[in-house]
């Protein structure tokens, strides 16, 4: 139940809506328990139901979703494979010690600010430990798309948290010549 609530909370960003979604997810799952495929993870199935309920509630129509995600996927294809935050931080903190000093609330806030097409796979992978195949089934996209969205989502998150760390003085400011390429991580 905790996993579904956590997922709903990150999707909805509002505790009241997350509670409603969690309750409805379990009710729907129980009413449709004959549709569960044995051998698959129950958690994965519950996430699928929860996400569908959320999309319906927020009126993110399927077509709108397709347009947004087509743009996101096209964008993801152009992202460099280079780790720009790593490149920016490597002289001062090559092993990323500063990540340990970024407070949990800030990490969650940065996750909440990710565009949904990147937020969903990141939550399912990094927070809920689903495989690429399971994520692909929950979101209804090919595995390759999951991979590219995860890649891009993590890069955007790293950039946001790195900027926060610089702002808070956790990491010293970058020199202009090795600052993060804004093009690379912009929307």
């Amino acid at each position: 139940m905790d996993a579904v609530y956590r997922f709903a909370l990150r999707l909805a960003k509002e505790p009241d809506l997350a509670e409603d979604l969690t309750q409805e997810t379990f009710l729907r799952a129980y009413q449709n328990r004959d549709k569960y495929t044995p051998g698959t993870r129950v958690k994965s199935w519950l996430f699928t139901i929860c996400r569908n309920l959320f999309l319906r509630r927020t009126e993110r129509s399927r077509r709108h979703d397709e347009i947004v995600t087509e743009a996101a996927d096209e964008d993801a294809r152009h992202v460099s494979r280079e780790n720009s935050v790593f490149m920016a931080a490597r002289d001062r903190d090559p092993e990323g010690e500063f990540w340990k000093q970024v407070v949990d609330e800030e990490v969650l806030r940065a996750i909440d600010e990710l565009p949904p097409e990147f937020r969903e796979p990141l939550i399912l992978s990094d927070l809920e430990d689903l495989s690429y195949q399971e994520i692909a089934e929950v979101i209804g996209v090919p595995i390759g798309t999951v991979k590219s969205r995860l890649f891009r989502g993590r890069r955007i998150l790293q950039k946001a948290l790195y900027d926060y760390a610089v702002e808070q003085g956790i990491v010293k400011d970058t020199k202009p010549d090795d600052s993060i390429d804004a093009e690379e991580v912009s929307e």
């Binding site: 129950v42 090559p94 990141l122 990094d126 998150l157």
Partner: protein, 114 residues
């Protein structure tokens, strides 16, 4: 050296990769490209092993591995304090019981969900 080039051409002609002196037999850029998949345990076992050897023994790539691991740990740490409120738990149980859920079914469902 001429004979090295000749050997490389011969191996390519028979469809085999020339031997590599890179850790794990793969280049740094390939290891970097597969870093996330390696951390996510999404590579086939042979490739997982080779990428792992490379990342853990290559002086250039090792800091990057530590950097990404540290980032991943920060995300995981932040996410693990999300328990469902007790009154929500109660509400869900009540609504499922009114649908006919029995206590033993509820226990089994909790186990399956994990």
């Amino acid at each position: 050296m001429k004979w090295v080039e000749e050997l490389r051409r011969l191996l390519q002609r028979v469809g085999k990769e020339p031997p590599s002196t890179e850790p794990g037999g793969i280049a740094c850029h390939e290891a970097a490209e597969r870093l996330f998949e390696w951390l996510d345990n999404e590579l086939e076992s042979d490739m997982h092993g080779r990428v792992g050897i490379h990342l853990e023994t290559c002086a250039r790539c090792y800091p990057r591995l530590l950097f990404e691991k540290s980032f991943r740990e920060a995300v995981e740490r932040a996410a693990h304090d999300g328990s469902a409120p007790e009154d929500l738990r109660q509400r869900i149980m009540t609504s499922l019981e009114s649908e006919g859920l029995t206590e033993s079914e509820a226990g089994r469902a909790e186990d399956d969900e994990a």
